[in-house]
């Protein structure tokens, strides 16, 4: 297992290297640069600034400096925000985005498994139809609509009760996190409900479930011991991509709820062509995602013995 993990981490590193290179190339292909902003400036100031940030150097040289700094863990200083390093930005704002993302994933995963199982258990009965209707809504309605609706609902609720039951925006306590993470996780949850439903329905008619019945086990025991664990495998497989969807989707939700997450800085940086911030955040997000996918694979191995053992002997 250790060998397998190391192997996966190494390939992950190579992926991150490609992400860094492609971002660098793409950014330099975009016309304009961080210095040509709103204000007109004299060629002398411009030359000075270019010298200061090393933009007068050949592109290949810049690439080399950029890579060496990344290896050292230094993403550089922002072009547009005075005296703020990319590392600072990440340190200050990533924990917020990560908390939001993790909560959203947890809500999506548990909600998906629970509601998916319910629909399968009540197949073709009222609860199944109701949940599947909501699922279609959840998949087709974009998250900013849910965000606005959620805020509206909370405002009305607060006004109706005359108390601040839930804050409408901002960040800080768990009550701040509840609504945004629910909104953020909703789409993924709807997707997972569908997946879980079909997965349970598939497992239900398998031979080993019949064996379990023939052994005289109670329906609950059959469900927990034999159906759930096997049915949850496909859900875990898609968790990796789901994390990607949630972290990128987070930008929108963060801005609707005025959450000081990384998303805002990312969007700003792209608008201003803030080279270091774009590259720093892309590489950071890229490595985060790669790491999460590896983590999901390892969890998968823990749940499905066929995989962990096969990998142990194969790799």
């Amino acid at each position: 297992m250790l060998k397998y993990t190391l192997h996966r981490l190494l390939t992950g590193l190579i992926t991150v290297f490609f992400i860094a290179t492609i971002t660098f190339a793409a950014m330099h292909l975009v016309p304009g640069d961080p210095i040509s902003g709103a204000k007109a400036m004299s060629p002398e100031i411009r030359a000075n600034l270019e010298r200061k940030y090393g933009l007068d150097q050949p592109v290949l040289h810049q690439y080399k400096v950029y890579l060496t700094n990344i290896v050292k863990g230094d993403f550089g200083i922002s072009y547009t925000q005075q005296n703020r390093s990319v590392n600072d930005i990440i340190r200050d704002h990533f924990p917020v985005s990560a908390t939001l993302g993790v909560l959203a994933i947890l809500i999506a995963a548990f909600g998906g498994v629970i509601f998916g199982s319910l629909t399968a258990l009540f197949r073709n009965k009222a609860p199944d139809h109701l949940i599947m209707f909501l699922v279609i809504l959840g998949i087709s309605v974009p998250s900013f609509v849910f965000a606005a609706l959620g805020q509206y609902g909370v405002t009305e609720l607060n006004r109706f009760t005359g108390k601040d039951i839930l804050p409408v925006g901002g960040w800080g306590t768990l009550s701040h996190m509840l609504l945004p993470s629910l909104v953020l996780g909703l789409g993924t949850m709807a997707f997972l409900v569908r997946l879980m439903r079909s997965s349970i329905l598939e497992v239900m008619n398998l031979d080993y479930v019949r064996t379990a019945k023939a052994k005289g086990l109670s329906p609950m025991r059959i469900f927990l011991g034999h159906k759930l664990r096997n049915a949850v495998l496909p859900v875990i497989t898609v968790l990796g991509p789901a994390i990607a969807a949630i972290t990128t989707g987070g930008f929108v939700v963060e801005s609707v709820f005025a959450i000081p997450g990384l998303g805002r800085y990312f969007v700003q940086a792209v608008q201003q062509l803030d080279y270091t911030v774009i590259m720093g955040l892309t590489v950071f997000y890229g490595s985060f995602l790669v790491f999460m996918v590896i983590a999901v694979d390892i969890i998968y191995g823990l749940i499905d013995p066929r995989i962990s053992v096969a990998k142990r002997s194969a790799v």
């Binding site: 008619n205 398998l206 031979d207 080993y208 019949r210 064996t211 379990a212 019945k213 023939a214 052994k215 005289g216 086990l217 109670s218 329906p219 025991r221 011991g225 034999h226 664990r229 096997n230 749940i303 499905d304 013995p305 066929r306 053992v309």
Partner: protein
């Protein structure tokens, strides 16, 4: 070969009477089992044979409560286990005998075990549910059971997952699981169909040993007459959802009283090179169970069919002994048979005898009758021949 008569006096463990099962499908109602009755006594092996789709699996699965309802439906009949009704009982009641009084093993050991649970836990589960023992005790019992079904290094194998076992080993695990609570009846639904011949012989030998040790009744579902010859005391031949012939294994093989049984035997390969012959298949296909025929279900394929066979389904008639029954008009009781005493002749006995002519004239005055020769004796799997 065990002597079936030894078991005749024993108590009846399981009694199935007039079981009828239907399935609702898009194409209509399939009458899968149409009035099946049989009995099994302690220590006895009943083999149910027949081709695919004849209803043998549905029969045993419905008495275990394993057919999905809907679309399945039991329309009549009762099943008694030690005198108690077990057909159509509540799930709680069913779970008191499933795995405890009746163990069951299935055809495909590759898919019948849960791939994400160690075999030890799967075996222990049966014991824990029925005997209420602790996890540790369950594990201990699982190891003992694995040893009992002759899995080497049971102590370490108990923590392995099914995919780490071969097909034969998995079937042993299935057997261990099914007999964990010392059931009085073991249902084996084609236990060796998915295994190769040497492994098949080992598994059958294991089943026989366990049966002897525990005085367990076995209901063996198979379409392999070689397995029947090797294992069974009694045989029930099923065709199109009905038992068409039943009797002791000797009666079925040597005094076949139904054209279908004879057809099966003619279609069976010989192990003996000198005797080897061209196999004679049974022409045609079984009837459509959406709309079963009014008359005998074998009428369309029967070389001995008479007019009455197409009109009316025969009852089960006695053939050579009170327990040898055949659902065939050729076995109809004849009124004035000297010394017959209600006992019918096997088809072999009627061959080319005066009796035969009488029978033909009497039972089928309006139809054509052809008598058939019994094929040579089937391969009897004796111990030395089958043991690896």
């Amino acid at each position: 070969m065990k002597n079936a008569t030894n078991h005749r006096t024993k108590e009846t463990l399981l009694e199935v009477s007039d079981l009828r099962v239907e399935f609702d499908t898009y194409g209509g109602i399939v009458k899968a089992v149409r009035g099946v009755s049989f009995e099994v006594a302690r220590g006895e092996t009943l083999a149910i044979v027949g081709e695919s789709g004849c209803g043998k699996s549905v029969t045993v699965q419905s008495l275990m409560g394993l057919i999905p309802m809907p679309p399945g439906r039991i329309t009549s009949g009762f099943v008694k286990l030690k005198g108690q009704d077990i057909l159509g009982v509540s799930l709680e009641k069913a779970n008191q005998f499933r795995g405890k009084e009746i163990g069951m093993i299935f055809q495909d050991p590759m898919t019948s075990l849960n791939p994400t649970m160690t075999v030890g836990k799967q075996i222990a589960e049966t014991v824990r549910v029925h005997d209420g023992v602790s996890a540790d005790e369950g594990r201990k019992r699982a190891i003992e059971l694995l040893e009992l079904v002759q899995i080497p290094e049971a102590k370490s194998r108990v923590d392995h997952y099914p995919f780490q076992f071969s097909g034969g080993m998995r079937q042993r695990v299935m057997i261990a699981m099914a007999i964990a609570c010392k059931p009085s009846v073991l249902i084996a639904d084609e236990p060796t169909t998915a295994l190769d011949v040497t492994i098949q012989a080992q598994i059958l030998r294991l089943l026989r040993e366990l049966q002897r040790e525990r005085d367990m009744a076995i209901i063996l579902i198979t379409h392999d007459l070689g397995v029947v010859a090797q294992m069974a005391d009694k045989v029930a031949v099923m065709y199109a959802g009905q038992i068409v012939e039943s009797g002791t294994v000797d009666e079925i093989f040597y005094q076949s009283g139904h054209p279908y049984t004879l057809g099966l035997r003619s279609a069976m390969p010989e192990n003996d090179e000198e005797k080897s012959k061209v196999l004679i298949p049974i022409e045609g296909a079984p009837p459509d169970l959406f709309n079963p025929p009014v008359g005998c279900s074998y009428f369309e394929r029967c070389p001995n069919a008479m007019k009455i066979c197409g009109r009316e389904n025969p009852a089960l008639f006695n053939v050579s002994s009170p327990e040898h029954l055949s659902r065939c008009w050729l076995q109809v009781p004849r009124r004035a048979q000297p010394g017959g005493g209600g006992m019918r002749k096997s088809l072999r006995h009627t061959l080319n005898t005066a009796d035969a002519a009488d029978a033909a004239a009497e039972t089928a005055a309006e139809g054509r009758v052809t008598f058939f020769e019994q094929p040579s004796a089937p391969f009897r799997g004796d111990e030395s021949g089958m043991a690896p």
